[in-house]
Amino acid sequence: MKTYYYPGCTLPDKARDFDTSARACCELLGLELEEMERWVCCGSAFKLDHKNIMQHLAPIRNLAEVHKEGGRLMTLCVFCYNSLKRANYAFLAEPDKHEVINDFIESDYDGKVPVVHLLEMLKDEVGFEALAEKVKRPLGGLRVAPFYGCLLLRPQEEIGFEDPENPTVMEKLFEALGAEVVSYPHRLECCGSYLSLKDRDHTTSMVTRVLESAVEAGANAIVTSCPMCNFNFEFFGGELVARDTIHTFYFTELLALALGADRKLCGLEQHETDVDRLIDEALAAPATAAAGSETAGSGTSGARASGDQAPDARNG
């Protein structure tokens, strides 16, 4: 099935780093992408008024476009991902409205175009073991704090990607890339989202809480899949950002780097912090968990170790 890339409004502009690096990653991993020829707004935040399917016409128009070509839709921005995937779900739930909608948007959409996120493809199609083998520049000096935010995983019955209370995909990804993955309590918290437009103080306190907790746990990089989280962390991170204590990345930037992409293609341009120094140091250091040689198993490395020890303890 052909994969059509849906960039959405932010990636060609404010989140160019995300776009450039993701394209580089896909290229290096042999994931074939084709940008959609015609696309419209994804609807941005998913309208909570489920009852009125007419409010979801924008995302459905995009899906209908892919349906015409017969393929699936891949996206990176979690706003787009959430909105498109949930619109599909809402559409399927109301078969009696299909005719009206299709008449209006001049299509014969059936609700069946799969919507996938690059993280899903990495997990289910590439696989972390295979990914580890493709690593050219293990991210040894990076202590990565994965941050999930709100839109990638919820609501579970509609998105159905990972358990929103206990996701592991980014942890496994960065273990495979040879980085040290930091466990900290606030990885599932809210970044403040659009509150940053209205209430700066509140956003600052929400962001600070997350960043402080990540730094306390030893992180020097926080990784997201969302332009909004990214923006809030960089602009409301206060001292921690001003002093380069912690840097914010899209997961694709570091993935591209690890896969050996040309540095220019890894994004790394729109940052508020001096990421270059960190990247240089990171690449110079030896890999934490030897990427490629060891399988990226389940859970944290700590849990693995204790599991292995149990039988020894009994024999000894």
Partner: protein, 648 residues
């Protein structure tokens, strides 16, 4: 030609105030076969019953139709009267012209009268085709089986035994007492659980009418009310528990350890173990999975130190078959496990524990000898947070029902905490406080006033570890404030579930469970301890979550029902049972699946379906399921039904 009598009851003005009974009588008298018709103010009264008897004798009636209230009210009364007059009781039928006619059609008297006339005509036609029936009898084995020896099972066993009948009490664990044995002090009086329970446990063990079978499971149950055949497997304990004196030396010397189930993992036990110092029986068992001799052939220390030679590594499971007349199911509950709450750490945060773990910490025989110390570092927690409704009343992430005891035990635990940690502070997050028992509301209020427990009405969204604390983020929905508490320890009141294995028990006994998985009672209000299957009764938390007072009361009730059954040596079985027309039966087995009472079986040799009349309750499910119309219910045959319909 049959001779039918019709009797119309006025029921005061209940019926007579709506129906034109003169007209009814006039019309009923014209029906073919009706030789007598009369009305009276209250046929259920003594003079009324006398009138019926007299009419049967005088007119030589061989069938009676009574137009009155619901058969649920007086069918028995009238059938007895008919019997006194020498008529077979199944020749008397009731037409409900009160609930189903006069009460519901008060505004249209004419139509109501018309309806009553037709209903009577239909019933007269049915009665003409009725046969005299004789209920069967079956012997009753004078012994009961009680499954599960928590407080409910123990109480039921004691009550039956005191009533003079033998009891076999089967418990799957090595010792009895169930969850109550794990509790420290109990609401609403705060008496020590062990103190009130130990004497009961000893009484159970010593009662001459009780045979206690611990470390045992019911494998199979066949037969029916009055005569169930039960297969029981007693697991290999690798200890001859009859000769063992319970001195405990083997336990002391055993080098292998495993997490203690009784302490819910808060401490370890040996591979040869008893649950607690007060265990009854207090003879240990060997856990084969952790015993070094049984896994590797090395060690054997217990055998070496046992002076009377009670250790027997060759022991195997034992099977025994026992017949019983009645069964009480008291298999209790288990808790919803912490791993179901990833937002609360999924069981990975050591200082987040569940209610039973708290009970063990607070128990003098527990891992901390009754001092409340947090598991991670043994420090005394100065701030403790209790979270109620973890999984309860949450159909999406847990169970839909209220677990009913958590409000009370949480209030109790907060109080007991403060009794031991005077400078500590307890907080409770709740949805509603449900303290509906006697003295319960007062108890909760006492906790708030005396120990200054702070209650927040709201949910907790997340627990996480930070700086050695368990951070609690929640909301107080009354003030609208979000709340953050750096707690030293958190106690989750997790939902009460049917005990693990309850579904299998239901399967073996062929009794239904409700949506929630608890055993279903025959009628929620009127038959709360009976099951759909005659002779099988319910007690305790296996039926629904409940506290000790309710468990004990229900156990007593189940015991009295069992004793009632065992009081006679024989029992009468249902007369209006299903019959099979063997010519038509194709032995397809639809009736076997349809029958909720397990009364239908296939005779593979003769290739026909059979009815065990002692089990059949006459519900008619098999009749509806039978594709060949080979199945009929006595005195409610399809011919009877179609003639009745013809009259309507």
């Amino acid at each position: 030609m049959r001779r039918i009598g019709v009797f119309c009851c006025w029921c005061g003005s209940n019926i007579a105030g709506v129906l034109d009974l003169d007209l009814v009588l006039q019309e009923a008298g014209k029906l073919p076969g009706v030789v007598h018709a009369e009305y009276y103010k209250y046929f259920c009264s003594q003079p009324g019953q006398d009138m019926i008897e007299e009419a049967i004798r005088d007119n030589e009636l061989d069938g009676v139709v009574i137009a009155a209230c619901s058969p649920g009210m007086h069918e028995g009364t009238f059938r007895k009267a008919a019997e006194r007059a020498g008529m077979n009781r199944f020749q008397l039928e009731i037409v409900n012209v009160r609930e189903q006619c006069s009460w519901v059609h008060q505004l249209d008297k004419e139509a109501a009268t018309e309806k009553a006339i037709r209903l009577i005509a239909a019933m007269v036609e049915k009665t003409k085709q009725n046969e005299p029936l004789t209920p069967g009898t079956a012997p009753v084995v004078q012994r009961a089986l009680v499954i599960g020896a928590g407080i409910s099972g123990m109480q039921a066993a004691l009550d039956i035994a005191d009533g003079g009948r033998e009891v076999v009490l089967v418990e799957k664990e090595p010792s009895i007492g169930g969850h109550m044995a794990q509790l420290s002090e109990t609401f609403p009086t705060l008496d020590c659980s062990q103190c009130i329970m130990t004497p009961r446990m000893v009484e159970v063990a010593q009662h001459e009418n009780i045979r206690l079978m611990t470390y045992s499971n019911v494998e199979e149950v066949t037969g029916s009310v009055g005569n169930f055949h039960v297969k029981i497997r007693t697991k290999a304990a690798y200890v001859d528990r009859d000769t063992c004196t319970g001195c405990g030396l083997c336990i002391e010397k055993c080098p292998a350890k495993a997490p203690s189930e009784f302490s819910r993992g808060l401490e370890t036990r040996k591979a040869i173990y008893v649950n607690s110092p007060q265990a009854v029986p207090n003879q240990p068992v060997i856990d084969a999975e952790h015993c070094m001799y049984l896994t590797d052939g090395k060690c054997g220390v217990c055998k070496k130190v046992c002076e009377i030679g009670a250790i027997d590594y060759e022991q195997t499971d034992r099977m025994e078959e026992i017949d019983v007349g009645a069964i009480v199911v008291a298999t209790g509950y288990d808790l919803y496990e912490q791993e179901n709450f990833p937002e609360f750490g999924g069981g990975e945060i050591p200082d987040v524990i569940d209610g039973l773990q708290f009970e063990r910490l607070n128990s003098a025989s527990g891992p901390t000898q009754g001092r409340i110390l947090r598991p991670s570092d043994g420090e005394e927690p100065k701030q403790i947070v209790f979270i109620q409704c973890c999984g309860s009343r949450d159909p999406e992430n847990g169970v839909a029902y209220c677990s009913r005891i958590c409000c009370m035990y949480t209030g109790k635990q907060a109080m007991l905490y403060k009794h031991k940690v005077h400078d500590g502070q307890a907080y409770v997050f709740y949805m509603d406080i449900r303290a509906g028992g006697k003295g319960y509301e007062e108890f909760i209020q006492r906790g708030i006033e005396e120990t200054n427990t702070i209650y927040f009405r709201g949910r907790v969204s997340r627990l996480y570890r930070e700086n050695g604390k368990v951070m609690v983020s929640g909301v107080d929905t009354l003030s609208g404030e979000t709340i953050e508490i750096p707690a030293d320890m958190v106690v989750l009141a997790t939902a009460i579930l049917p005990s693990r294995g309850a579904a299998e028990v239901a399967d073996k006994l062929n009794i239904p469970t409700s949506d929630s998985g608890f055993f279903a009672e025959a009628h929620v209000k009127l038959r709360p301890v009976e099951t759909q299957r005659r002779g099988i009764f319910l007690a305790g938390c296996g039926q629904a979550p409940k506290d000790i007072p309710d468990s004990v009361a229900q156990a007593g009730c189940a015991a009295s029902k069992a004793l009632g059954l065992l009081a006679s040596r024989t029992l009468t079985t249902e007369a209006q049972v299903a019959v099979v027309d063997e010519e038509r039966c194709a032995a397809c087995g639809m009736c076997v699946t349809a029958c909720p009472y397990g009364s239908r079986t296939l005779d593979e040799e003769r290739n026909v379906a059979e009815v065990d009349e002692s089990l059949c309750e006459g519900c008619g499910a098999c009749v509806a399921a039978c594709l060949n119309k080979a199945c009929e219910l006595k005195n409610l045959t399809s011919r009877q039904i179609s003639t009745m319909l013809g009259e309507l």
